[in-house]
């Protein structure tokens, strides 16, 4: 059961081979056994089992949907009613959700079981899941290594089979990079498809929720639940519902795969490049055609991202002032002193750093040189893709320049850490859908991720390509040593 696909679990539940309560208990046990990975911030067996019981009743009544009774772990950035929702931060360490995020509502309506809240970089700021008030998450493939970030808890949960499905959020790669480093599959949808309501804001023009799971097929089922219009998110897209599983089995003959030369140059580790090349050859075997393309401005995506994201964060995080919710410092002289102390004590070092960058680039006299400049470069990056998609259907390359690195290796050098995001940030800046799937192993027998970017709303096509690849290979089915079924 721990290795079963969502389709298999759904069938087992429907046929009465296992109940949702039994399945939930199985994964709760598993979470306890894998506690050393520090992948969860909150687990509440009583709440989860109550939901599982309700799911079993629903199944008995013949009222089940595809995910009814299936446990799902949610990144602790999604507000869930009556659940502690910390966003990995001390400043929200006492915040119990007064309402449900849209994503949580959708999973509740589908009858899924909330299995727990996963650990993450504080406010989703990081590429290693080390920046959590609750301590670093460990990579199931090598416990001295990071699982990637910021949705590192969710990625580790899937890799170590602590849940059959999980959610994450992606502002600059926070679903795809941890999926790559932890050897699992993850997808960031087109901006606007998944509602941001109740998803604690980091950089609102970039943030997008998405699923993390073992396979593309599972991602498609999860996406069917997560995607949907929500009037409470002003940038939510209104379009007819799509079944993301419909195209999974289409053959890939004639598919044009664009390979951007900029993503195979300096900075890409040889072991990662080799695995990605092998994956491209596999796609050609499946009937796809390889096209050389160029994304000339993509090299500027990290600098532009580290202006835009901190700028938006400095504005979004101004709400954490110790007045309406969360932590408040003790021993202050006046209101201003309360703000300063609350925010100095409540935010971790990386979050403070990004607020300072954002405050500076938006401050008087610097706006044009930084923020406006970054927005112009954002346009150039988006235009690169418009040109690229005239020549190809999907853009494929590496997700991350290296395999997982050791905990602490980049913690003291923010610039080194930021450069992890070189291949993932362009999709956020352009608003395009992108995903990562496992495509082999590199140095230290650690997983390598393959990055697939599609045109706007091309999720079904990306999932089709990923599913066909996963039918021809078994990288996605590999498990870390010591992770027995």
């Amino acid at each position: 059961m721990l290795n079963a696909s969502l389709k298999e679990l759904s069938a087992a539940l429907a046929q009465g081979k296992i109940s949702s309560v039994e399945l939930t208990k199985l994964f709760l046990d598993r979470i306890q056994k894998m506690g050393a990975l520090n992948a969860f911030i909150t687990v509440d067996a009583e709440k989860s089992l109550a939901q599982a019981g309700a799911a079993d009743e629903r199944i008995a009544k013949g009222d089940a949907k595809p995910l009814t009774g299936i446990p799902v772990a949610h990144k602790d950035i999604f507000v869930a009613k009556d659940w502690l929702t910390t966003c990995g931060s001390k400043i929200l360490s006492n915040f119990v959700g007064p309402y449900d995020a849209h994503v949580i509502e959708r999973f509740n309506a589908a009858g899924a079981v909330l299995l727990g809240k996963t650990n993450m970089d504080e406010f989703a700021m990081g590429s290693s899941s080390e920046n959590s008030f609750y301590g670093p998450v460990r990579n199931p493939w090598s416990r001295d290594c990071v699982p990637g970030g910021s949705s590192g808890g969710s990625a580790a949960v899937i890799a170590a089979r602590m849940a059959p499905a999980a959610t994450g959020t992606d502002t600059g790669g926070s679903i795809r990079q941890p999926a790559a480093l932890s050897g699992v599959s993850g997808l960031k949808p087109t901006y606007g498809l998944v509602s941001r309501y109740g998803m604690i804001a980091f950089a609102s023009s970039l943030d997008q929720g998405g699923p993390i799971a073992k396979s593309a097929e599972d991602l498609a089922l999860l996406l069917n639940v997560m995607v949907g219009f929500d009037a409470r998110d002003s940038t939510s897209i209104e379009r007819p519902a799509e079944d993301y599983t419909l195209d999974l089995d289409k053959p890939l003959s004639g598919l044009r795969i664009g390979v951007p030369k900029e993503h195979f140059g300096e900075g890409l580790s040889g072991d990662v490049g080799k695995a990605v090349e092998a994956a491209l050859a596999q796609f050609e075997k499946l009937g796809a055609k390889r096209v050389s393309i160029s994304l000339p401005s993509s090299g500027l995506s990290v600098p532009a991202y580290y202006v835009i994201a901190p700028a938006e964060a400095s504005s979004n995080l101004s709400r954490f002032d110790g007045v309406r919710y969360g932590y408040r410092a003790s021993g202050y002289r006046d209101l201003a002193d309360m703000y300063r102390k609350t925010r100095a004590e409540g935010f971790g070092a990386e979050v403070r750093r990004r607020i300072l960058i954002g405050t500076y680039v938006l401050s008087h006299g610097y706006y044009d040189a930084y923020y406006l400049k970054a927005q112009k470069i954002r346009r150039l990056i988006a235009q690169d893709f418009v040109e690229a998609f005239k020549q190809c259907d999907l853009v494929i390359g590496p997700t991350s320049p290296t395999v997982a690195f050791r905990i602490g290796a980049k913690a003291a050098d923010p610039v080194k850490m930021y450069l992890n995001d070189i291949y993932t940030t362009p999709a956020n800046l352009a608003g395009l859908p992108a995903m990562s799937i496992p495509c082999g192993f590199g140095n230290g027998k650690l997983p390598v991720g393959l990055h697939i970017t599609g045109n706007y709303f091309a999720e079904a096509r990306m999932l089709n390509a990923a599913h066909q690849y996963q039918k021809a290979t078994d990288w996605h089915a590999r498990r870390p040593a010591g992770i027995e079924p």
Binding site: F95, Y191, P303, V323, R324, R340, V415, L429
Partner: protein, 95 residues
């Protein structure tokens, strides 16, 4: 142009984040490294390029001017650090 220690303190004050001397010095070095990375943007000519403010060029929706939210005052107040009689409490602002 590297950030001075004075500028780091000024930004921290704008952001309402208390910062000690030792931290300000450490942050100054890190911020200057980051701004060196960000500075790569200046190499590109962007004259005449329209800034892209959002992931998609979309128009914001309009809605009927009617009440859409129900009263959740008690629920939202329940998570406040200090409250009294349905109000948030903060230190005295006006003497």
């Amino acid at each position: 142009m590297p950030l001075s220690l004075e500028e780091v303190r000024r930004i921290a004050e704008l952001a309402r984040i208390g910062i000690g001397d030792a931290e300000a010095r450490a942050v100054q070095i890190q911020l200057n490294d980051i701004f060196e990375l960000i500075g790569q943007m200046q190499r590109v000519n962007t004259d005449g390029i329209e800034p892209m403010a959002h992931a998609q060029d979309m128009k914001l929706r309009l809605r009927e001017d009617v009440q859409t939210e129900r009263d959740q005052r008690e629920q939202f107040l329940s998570v406040a650090p200090e409250k009294e009689q349905g109000l948030y409490l903060v230190p005295k602002v006006i003497e």
